[in-house]
Amino acid sequence: MSADQFNAQVLDPSFLPSTANYSWEAIGTLTFEGIDQPANLYGRVYSDASNSGNGLWSGALTFAAGAVVIDGPLPIGDAVAAVTVATVGAISGTKAASDYLKSQGVQYTLRAKTSGNFPVFRFGSALPSGTQFLNAGDIWKIGQTVQFNFATGRQYRYPQSQLDAWGVQFVPEFRGTRPQIMLTEKMKIWQYIHLYDALPAGNKVPW
């Protein structure tokens, strides 16, 4: 399925719920086959409390295992099998919230341009805590951004000079709405931690 087809499905009004109570639900449960199941992923899920029918966005996101893995190439080999994210919920009672949710972005990685020693950032430290050797193409950071121009396919999250200073290149890996890229980013960081027992060197915030 293409990204557009996927998004069209998610934004299909037929997914709208028949009732509209303002409530919390877990919007995602990830199941990694053969891997410890991570904690539930919580997100705000609400709908039109007035029952006026203005709920413009809802979705039952179901990422097929392959879609996530193929779109986001990770060094996971064949060890990681099925990844299923079942996201059920009705979101937003306002057009503004709907626009917010529908805005598109990308989950990206910053990868080593050439082999070498890359800075390791640690939370709360004013200086890099050291360096880590990465081979060309290895992941240095996993992130998500909406600062991406889809018309040209160019990111403006980082100035080129910053990428050069870090010795990395920006690789967009998955296109989607804000909730989708957020979930994808989380899954990929989980996978990375599971494989390497550490955050990528450029991800400083403790998990």
Partner: protein, 337 residues
């Protein structure tokens, strides 16, 4: 001249274009003793080739320029142009790929006239580029680039920074908040407001934004982010703090002390990413001075002062995961019951 050849490509081309880094090194070595005019001392080329599925679904012709930036004060030119994804994907050899690159560069160089670069011998540069490419293809020994070694840069001293007075900064934010009908609309309002300021003030806004962002690098906000999202990444943490700024000064500093007030705000819903705040100054600058302005952009200037993507001192008291529900009960109950 210093020359850099970079890539912005989708992952399917990653291996195929890995050799570009070797070529980049060869170009750098060959160009460092050469000059192509007084106006350019540094030239950064970015080859962009993305799977059309990542964009608008259509491939671009090779050579279409998608970004060009000349900074007169630094004598720096940055040129991003497209390589047709289909062509690159179907190219079977380095020779084939580099033919596409050469054609792309030739076409792209013809599209920078509006940058009004006084002294830049484009034809000579292209000839030299082609010579190096041919040399690369004929050479039997293609050494790998040297090992990359990260060098930490020194931050700009605070005294030398012309930042915007925080009172003015917050006044602009408050006004935009009063006028907004949505979060995204507020971003547009902020861009419009900054357009009325002079160059120094727009750059000053960026400096002050970074200073203020640093103040919320606090364990309380990390806890809030953790409770709201379940897990936190670099970008989540940063974007949430951007969003907090849009709610105004009083809320911003209150929430650092007591993140539980988030439940009473608009942020308690779903709109908790304020990433667009990071590009407000740049977009206002471009809107005011035009895309072809030869001035450096605010983010690029301020990046050396405070880099939110690199180092931040975290404030507040550290917590254990198990303490979150008791330390922030209202926030916890709101998101977890």
């Amino acid at each position: 001249m210093e020359i850099k050849l970079n890539k912005e490509i989708s992952f399917d081309l990653f291996k195929k274009l890995e050799f570009i880094d070797k070529l980049s090194r060869l170009l750098r070595l060959n160009f460092e003793s050469k000059s192509f005019g007084e106006s350019i001392h540094s030239f950064c080329i970015v080859l962009n080739s993305l799977d059309p599925e990542m964009g608008i679904g259509q491939d671009f012709d090779t050579g279409v320029v998608i970004y060009k930036k000349y900074i007169k004060s630094k004598k720096y030119l940055e040129l991003h142009f497209k390589l047709n994804h289909h062509q690159i994907k179907n190219a079977v050899s380095e020779t084939g790929i580099l033919e596409i690159v050469k054609n792309g560069l030739q076409s792209a160089l013809n599209q920078i006239n509006d940058l009004s670069i006084a002294s830049f011998d484009i034809e000579m540069l292209y000839r030299e580029f082609s010579t190096v490419v041919n040399h690369y293809l004929s050479s039997e020994v293609k050494t790998n680039p040297p090992i990359f070694i990260y060098e930490a840069h020194n931050s700009v001293e605070f005294e030398s920074v012309e930042d915007m007075d925080e009172i003015v900064f917050w006044e602009i934010i408050e006004q935009s908040k009063d006028e907004r009908d949505s979060y995204q609309n507020q971003i547009q309002i902020l861009i419009e407001k900054l357009c009325f300021l002079d160059e120094e003030s727009i750059i000053g806004f960026e400096y002050t934004l970074r200073t203020i962002l640093e103040k919320s690098a606090h364990y309380n906000i990390l806890a809030a982010s953790r409770i709201m999202h379940g897990v936190v990444s670099n970008d989540h943490f940063l974007y949430l703090r951007c969003r907090l700024i849009l709610e105004g000064k009083e809320f911003y500093f209150s929430v650092i002390d007591n993140p539980q007030i988030i439940v009473d705000s608009e942020i308690s819903g779903i709109e908790y990413s304020g990433e667009e705040v990071l590009s407000i100054a740049d977009l206002a600058f471009i809107k005011k001075f035009g895309e072809t302005t030869d001035k450096d952009l605010p983010r690029s200037i301020a990046g050396g002062y405070l880099n939110y993507d690199e180092m931040e001192l975290i404030k507040g008291d550290i917590w254990e995961e198990e303490e979150l529900s008791s330390k922030y009960p209202r926030l916890w109950n709101y998101y977890h019951t």
